[in-house]
Symmetry: C2
Subunit: 335 residues, 2 copies
């Protein structure tokens, strides 16, 4: 057994509706250990919190570090939640969680400071500190996955807003009276551009009489996913092309809107839909940048995220590191 | 002649395409003196800058203050411009102005520090310091006038973005492939909700065969303005109602979008269209707030601006005061 002796490691705790992941991360973003398990979501928050504490123990043992070398923990979790009080309010992906004081529960047991933010904000902090946004003061992070989420870095720090709910870019309205979104609103960007919505729009078109190779590719109409759309697009399917073009148009408008509003240096795109690669980035750049005014277009680039599947743990670790720095800054100012 | 002896007054310089206004303002927002003149815009920037310097002299004489009591000047001007270098780039409302080093030109002559920002940002700073946003940390200002402009206050300060162009809320896309905007884009909020666009949409509908009392109210089709629409709305005109409802829907989506993205405490609406009063605010609140998620809706209100016709000068004065405070903060930190 080799004991690593550097101090100041943090725990990154990534809470998803289907899996939990915990890792120990160095301040430079090195993932020292990593453990995962399926979320026992039907057994409720108490059971899931016990799972998390077991994972923390497992990650510590696997790391070979002393408990005293792990100085803080960060948690990324589906919102809505309150990052200031550390309470998880009622996330759609964690049924049965209502006003759970997660930070209090975890810090009681772990005996270190625990910080919480929603998963998109955590990912934004992770990409900003360790990934595609390193050294960038003004950055927008957008994840396009089963949903569409966002996080906003202004002047080098996460912008939280009045009560910690800023950056809901996925719920920007882009079509008046458009498709109903999971949030209850109509015409949100998420209702068109998420993987779920892309597949849903294809299924609706086929159910409405359009022909396509996609049901055969996927096995059935119901099994069509965004991956099916990508495969069909590469094979020249006309419906896949049409749905994808509309997706690019709306994503282009959405990305242009955040550029017009925030005047960022960089837009970082993550999530499964970025697997569309060159079918996504060049046409999206073209559509977004032609919409924004010249001085804004001149300073911004639109790039893929870099952290891949580690973004959950590294993002949660970045939440912990940002909170540590903020508290140290307060100490310096008031000393 | 009474000499006022308090120090630290500032000049507020408001540059418009049709009129120039200069005032002397106390740190508490009292307008001590105010002078105005039509902009000799066709005679070019040199002549307009001489007009401005004459107005500054006039405002000083009228104020009864000593020159030494006026310690800084702020300028609000149509963009695009660079608030950092103080250069006015090429505003559509000031033809012939190309890369004019306005701050250098004015500070050379006035011999006090001069700060510049675009008129919407200046108005946001003015409403934040002296008007409807007093004491609010996170505020969005939206002016709905001949154009639609915006300014964003985060954590009590104007959010500038990477190169001073943040807050272009009027150029948020709300209709894919929609009406062409003055910026060259399509479907911008400004292309529907500005006074010019509201009147334009009415004229297009009537030219397309719709009947309405508005041409008679205004004198002719060409003379229809947003004020005509307001009068026709009050008189029960069906086309006015239809166009206004669509305007409310799109404005509601636009305001909801900035709420979802910024999680502000307050949205302040200014500009001539706020004269629609109760025909604007209650239905706009309803439309905007039903679109945003509950934790965001819970903390935000949507209110009219308070500064009225003084917003140009008071906003420019607020630009000067914010710049003074920022430089004092820097001095404190580095001392």
């Amino acid at each position: 057994l080799t004991l690593r002796t550097e101090p100041h490691y943090v725990l990154g705790i990534d809470i998803g509706g289907t899996k939990l992941a915990v890792g120990i991360v160095s301040p430079e973003g090195r993932l020292v250990s990593e453990v995962r398990t399926p979320t026992l979501v039907r057994e409720g928050p108490d059971r899931v919190i016990r799972q998390l504490l077991d994972l923390c123990d497992g990650a510590l043992v696997q790391s070979g570090l002393l408990r005293s070398q792990v100085v803080a923990a960060g948690v990324g979790c589906g919102g809505p939640l309150d990052p200031i009080t550390g309470v998880v309010m009622e996330p759609p992906n964690l049924p049965g969680w209502v006003d759970v004081p997660l930070v209090a529960r975890l810090s009681d047991r772990l005996q270190i400071p625990v910080s919480l933010d929603n998963d998109a904000n955590a990912a934004a902090l992770g990409e900003h500190r360790f990934g595609a946004g390193r050294g960038i003061a003004n950055m927008i992070y957008l994840t396009i996955s089963t949903g569409v989420g966002g996080g906003v870095i202004t002047d080098g720090r996460l912008y939280q807003g009045e009560n910690g709910n800023a950056g809901e870019i996925g719920h920007m309205g882009v079509v008046l009276g458009g498709r109903t979104c999971g949030c209850g609103g109509q015409g949100c960007l998420e209702a068109y551009a998420s993987g779920t919505s892309i597949a849903g729009r294809v299924r609706e078109a086929i159910a409405g009489g359009r022909t396509s190779m996609m049901p055969e590719l996927a096995g059935s109409l119901e099994q069509i996913t965004a991956e099916t759309v990508l495969a069909a697009l590469r094979a020249g399917d006309a419906l896949a092309r049409e749905i994808w073009e509309e997706t690019l148009d709306l994503l282009g408008m959405g990305v242009a809107n955040v550029i017009s509003i925030f005047n960022p240096r960089r837009v970082v795109l993550g999530g499964g839909i970025t697997n569309f690669g060159d079918l996504l980035f060049p046409p999206l750049r073209e559509r977004a940048l032609r919409r924004v005014m010249a001085p804004l277009a001149a300073v911004v680039d639109i790039v893929p995220a870099e952290l891949g599947s580690t973004v959950g743990i590294l993002g949660a670790a970045a939440v912990a590191l940002a909170a540590r720095e903020a508290s140290e800054l307060v100490n310096v100012v008031y000393k």
